[in-house]
């Protein structure tokens, strides 16, 4: 699971890349976004807040029905492998106190059908543990990301060959001109997916996904992503606030990119199991990254 790279799939922008009219297909738009995501997300260090709450409607507006649960995370990611399409990412929990220090290392693969690898370090276990997550199926919800409404399926990257895309129409979303692109999983992917159809609203100028709607096999919208606070960060357009609403459970999670830095000097060795267990090495590496961001 390449959490933060993938979340940027929902929100990160393209550079000033524009597709010519003859290239303007759903697949071309998505491929451009994917390529851009990789180029803008390589060697990144991110600090974010993940807030979750049940929600209701108060005076016509969506509102939390309880005090949100907040997790603060730090993440380091690099691209590697053939054509730099695979990813390695490390995520460390800073808050809440009860979960402080929990670390997760993920190797994600672009190749269709190739399972990602995940290792977890919990101090109670006293060792690094491989996690066999596998894929979900159309009946079961994929794994939640740190207890949020974002799931491993929402954050999976690459593997575009497992989908077909169709440009539906031009539209307006949050005052911006957008393309509506429909994404349909192929037969093999559909067996593993909770979503039978997804519609993305993509900012035509900044290549940011401003909204996504996920539908189940009965055609019912079950989840919706809303992105906002689109800002130019480190020369890339970025939606710094991404909210996933579960329309079935009435619970939402907001991911706030409090800090994000890209194109940092990150050693491959930092994205290994050593970083999970060797606290001195990990803290030294993180300090070095923080220093690079100053």
């Amino acid at each position: 699971m390449t959490l933060f790279k993938a979340l940027k799939f929902m929100c990160i922008t393209a550079l000033a890349v524009n597709l010519s009219a003859e290239e303007l297909t759903g697949e071309a738009i998505m491929q451009t976004m994917e390529d851009t995501r990789r180029s803008t997300n390589d060697s990144s260090f991110t600090r974010l807040k993940l807030s979750s709450c049940t929600f209701g409607v108060n005076k016509g507006r969506i509102a939390c029905g309880e005090r949100p649960r907040v997790k603060v995370l730090e993440s380091v990611s690099i691209n590697h492998g053939k054509d730099n399409k695979d990813t390695k990412s490390l995520t460390i929990t800073l808050e809440p106190p009860a979960e402080r220090g929990i670390g997760m290392l993920t190797y994600g693969y672009d190749e269709a059908g190739r399972n990602n690898q995940t290792w977890l370090y919990l101090s109670a276990l006293g060792r690094v543990k491989r996690i066999a997550g596998g894929d979900s199926d159309e009946e079961t919800e994929p794994a939640s990301i740190f207890g949020s409404e974002f799931t491993t399926e929402d954050t999976d990257t690459g593997k575009l060959a497992e989908y077909s895309f169709k440009l539906l129409e031009d539209a307006t979303q949050s005052g911006r001109r957008v393309w509506k692109v429909e994404s349909l999983p192929n037969a093999e992917r559909a067996k593993k997916s909770r979503y039978s159809r997804t519609v993305h609203y993509i900012d035509q100028e900044r290549y940011v996904v401003l909204r996504s709607e996920m539908y189940d096999k009965y055609g019912k919208e079950i989840k919706r992503v809303m992105a906002s606070r689109v800002e130019l960060v480190n020369d890339n357009w970025l939606a710094r606030s991404v909210t996933m609403m579960n329309l079935v459970s009435n619970r939402l999670s907001n991911m706030a990119f409090v800090e994000i830095y890209t194109d940092l000097d990150i050693n491959d060795a930092f994205l290994t199991q050593r970083t999970l267990t060797d606290n001195a090495y990990r803290e030294t590496g993180l300090e070095a990254l923080r220093a690079q961001t100053q």
Binding site: S51, G60, R69, P96, A132, E221, T277
Partner: protein
Amino acid sequence: MLKRLFLYPFAIALLVLATLVAGQGTKAEEPTGDPFGDELNFDDDLFGDAFDSPETTKEASWLDGFTVRLSQQLYWQVNNHSVEPRPGLRIPKQADLENNRLGLNFRYQNAFAPGWLLQFTGQARWYWKDDYEYQANNDSIATEYRINELYLQRSFDQQSLKFGRQTVVWGETVGNSVLDVINHTEFRDFTIIDIEDARLNQWMLVWDVFAADSQWSSFINLYPEFNPVAVPGSPFYANTGYNIGDYKRGSQTLFEAGTQWRKSFESSDISFMAAYLYENQLRYDYPVAGYGDALAKKNDFVLLGFSANRAIGKLLLNADLAVSLGVLPNESPFPGITVAGSGLDIEKDQLGASLGFEYAISSDQSISLGVQANKVLNESKGLTPQQTIVNEGIFGSWLVRYRNALSNGNLVISSTLQGDLAADSLFVSLGLDYSINDHWAVAGQIISTTANQQTPMVMFDADVRVGATVTYSF
């Protein structure tokens, strides 16, 4: 077993109460009609403070390294019954409050210089009225402090050195590995039933050498410790009429040492290991005079091991193999259970294997199974025709754990079943943990034990325990 659970309405009521508590939380009006139309009235000011107060504006303080957990725990043995350890000998057991204690656990971590780290974890316990420790302390509040971890780490290049109190965990099988024997353990009572919670730290020097996909890890322990003896009043305490104490090491120098090589492949990890160890559980001979201090005896041996895992979709297969050379054979399949005076001081070789799997039924539900089996290789060697070893043939234990996380992990239902391969005992636990918010959590648990006269666990036959814990973390 299940029938027994239903006999105790209090226990059920506790869990129902916890479930009701877990169901609370949504105070806002639920959406009606279609509030999710195209012009959804949503803005992220809900979480605006995430940006208004970025973490980096906080001034770093050494206090940031502290994590503290406070917990108040109550546990009852709720079944009025009797046990029959030997035919005709019935011992009554009354329903009783066993645990009433406040715990404080803290963790401190400070990477005070590049490549250096200090880690310190400890705990304090206050035993209130009716806790068995309170009763053992002449009916007055007892206090206990303990350093768990305290180590200094230096990492440089491809290496790491850690010196201090720490744990070393070997093996892959969840909770039931024949290789997870480096650190000693304390199963003081039934509130600690998982080995992950029972491990005690020891003073060790650990040296790790890292490569891209592999790791050498070696340790030396210059002060090996043994499983502590159950305190009077605890469920595991048995009044034998003589004193069961720690090993009297005198001027002897004891040490343990071992090394492990681990390598990761895609979808699999493997390890090889070798160590010189002492069995964590001491053996005891009857006092020479028939009373006074039982004679504690150490039990050193050489361990050779191999472990591997393999991920296949949602399934993770685990295997551990252990060869123990020159060991005095185990007397009880359950750690923490001491058998006095039944051992034969004849070293044997023993083969152990743990096989298990973990399966993710869904993203929220998982189940794991671990089976540990042991066989003494040269059972009759050195024995007279009238002698037998305690564990003939294949002996061991099995462990099943089930976990279901609801409400995105805020509510966790878990169950543990544990028994020995001879089917002489069965342990069933049902737990419910609910995180009220980022600081407060509550937990409830029901534990039932069944055993026959073939096992020391018979002392817990027909016991039913109910417990609740409230935790605050900051």
